[in-house]
């Protein structure tokens, strides 16, 4: 019994330590953001990597999510609640825009780019490239973390908007093939979807982007023990990002709903 408590305490203390380190990293990133020189080229490079190069997987995810949503909503509304399939459009669009667009996009990008960032910075750490940056008068937080942080925080909302549109379109495809006409789907969307729904999703996307950037950079910088350590940092970056995205999602929703978004 005691050993379980001990182990729980250990895990808890690691967790608190990690959270503290991440808060500290966030502060340092925000401070370094305004130090000259301004690394426009590096930020652009990261935006391409995170935004542009992620479009194919973001499209696939959103399209099939929208299609599945329409299928499930259509089945429920038609056979369980019976005869209310004209509301598919509102179910799909609101779930997509408020929840699945931002969250699933964030998950996919955390898996794709969060892991890559942790692996890249982790490798640089264990091969002394981070030390080399210091000796060349380039602060690694500024040179590595700031461009990634900005790119994640700016690109996630854009990818979310993209996912919203594609997902809604996927719903339209399935709904018009199996349940209602496309004009009913479009009308239903128009009648229920509000700007606040869309804005809320975009704000969440921004937060998720910031979270995964911080988690990935922190795991990268804290890497020790060579190749094994890089593997561990990469796994941790993805697992912690997923956890923090889901946990913060609940609280963000609570706040957004309280603010009438």
């Amino acid at each position: 019994m005691k050993s379980y408590i001990e182990r729980f305490g250990k895990v808890l203390s690691y967790f608190i330590h990690d959270m503290g380190e991440m808060v500290f990293l966030t502060l340092r990133i925000n401070q370094q953001m305004f130090v000259k020189p301004f690394d426009g080229k590096l930020i652009l490079q990261q935006m391409v990597r995170i935004g542009v190069e992620s479009i194919p997987v973001a499209i696939t995810t959103a399209l099939f999510t929208g299609m599945v949503l329409a299928l499930q909503a259509g089945y429920t509304l038609e056979t369980k609640i019976k005869g209310v399939s004209q509301f598919i459009g509102s179910v799909v669009s609101i779930s997509m825009v408020r929840e699945l667009g931002p969250v699933l996009t964030a998950m996919v990008i955390a898996g794709r780019n969060g892991s890559a960032v942790a692996a890249e910075i982790g490798t640089m750490q264990v091969t002394e490239q981070i030390d080399a940056l210091f000796t060349l008068a380039a602060n690694p937080i500024k040179y590595l973390a700031v461009p990634r942080f900005l790119a994640f925080t700016l690109m996630l909302p854009l990818l979310t908007i993209f996912a919203d549109i594609i997902g809604w379109f996927g719903g339209l495809l399935v709904s018009s093939m199996k349940f209602t006409s496309s004009s009913v789907y479009i009308d239903s969307t128009r009648n229920s979807l509000e700007t606040g729904d869309i804005m809320g999703g975009i704000i969440k996307g921004m937060f998720f982007g910031a979270i995964m950037a911080i988690v990935a950079c922190r795991q990268g910088f804290a890497t020790t023990n060579g190749a094994e350590g890089v593997g561990k940092a990469t796994t941790n970056a993805v697992v912690f990002s997923f956890m923090l995205i889901l946990i913060s999602d609940y609280f963000l929703n609570a706040v957004l709903i309280a603010m009438h978004f």
Binding site: E128, A132, L136, A137
Partner: protein, 255 residues
């Protein structure tokens, strides 16, 4: 060496990693223009000394002075000013994988000194020639280079802003004898051509004898002997004798 100026001073420096005490109130002076080689077995804190001097790692106790400034007390901007006078050659070169040879060597020129690209390319070519590399490597990535070439590029990057001090971490480790000899020649050349002060960390005695003006042996967190290569070679200290002759027999336990 006519004038004796202490350009680097370590005063009572201690450092522990966890429970393991690596440096134990260590004192060391490096004179202007000399090449000081620090020898000792693996894991005795040789590289830690370099990291202290380069300001990469804070000491637990003691003071580190470089060019009249105390490294531990400098603000980031002041430290970066000092780093303009200091080049570090890392054990495995630590070149940036994502950048080309040119971008690696020209890192500070482009970023801090805002040199235009054409001028920087000519400058980098000159530095590459100085370390015995051809200028046509400029647009290759580090992964396309051999270990020896990478080390040379690392050296070119370290000397890109004409430093007064160069710190070498195991410059010949992992290289074939010919490449090692070439690196040794380079270290001697740098001292002659650029009049730099060098601190070299190594356990390669051949290299140490070749490049050093003085050799310092570190054991158990302290400098146990310091002198010219001849003095070290002929030292009667049992620890130094064991190390320089590479013997299993002696006071140092073989772990």
């Amino acid at each position: 060496m006519g004038q004796i100026v202490k350009i680097i001073q370590l005063k009572g420096v201690s450092k522990s990693f966890g429970d393991r005490r690596v440096l134990d109130s260590l004192d060391l002076d490096v004179y202007s223009g000399e090449t000081l080689v620090i020898i000792g077995r693996s894991g005795v804190g040789k590289s830690t000394i370099l990291k202290h001097i380069a300001g990469l790692l804070p000491a637990d106790q003691g003071e580190i002075w470089v060019e009249g400034l105390e490294v531990g007390r400098l603000k980031e901007r002041e430290m970066n000013e000092l780093r303009k006078k200091m080049g570090v050659v890392f054990q495995y070169a630590a070149l940036f994988d994502s950048l080309t040879v040119f971008e690696n060597v020209a890192f500070r020129l482009l970023r801090d000194f805002k040199m235009v690209e054409d001028k920087a390319r000519a400058w980098v070519k000159e530095k590459l020639e100085l370390v015995g590399l051809r200028g046509d490597l400029l647009d290759l990535k580090p992964a396309q280079l051999s270990g020896g070439m990478r080390k040379r590029v690392g050296l070119a990057r370290a000397i890109a802003v004409d430093p007064e001090i160069i710190l070498y971490d195991e410059p010949t480790s992992g290289l074939d004898p010919v490449s090692s000899e070439a690196i040794n020649d380079l270290i001697v050349d740098m001292q002659k051509k650029l009049r730099v002060t060098s601190v070299v960390v190594t356990h390669d005695m051949h290299s140490a004898y070749k490049v050093a003006n003085r050799i310092a042996m570190i054991y158990d967190g302290k400098i146990i002997g310091i002198g010219t290569p001849d003095e070290i070679k002929n030292s009667q200290d049992p620890y130094i004798r064991q190390f320089v002759t590479g013997s299993v027999e002696g006071p140092m336990p073989v772990r």
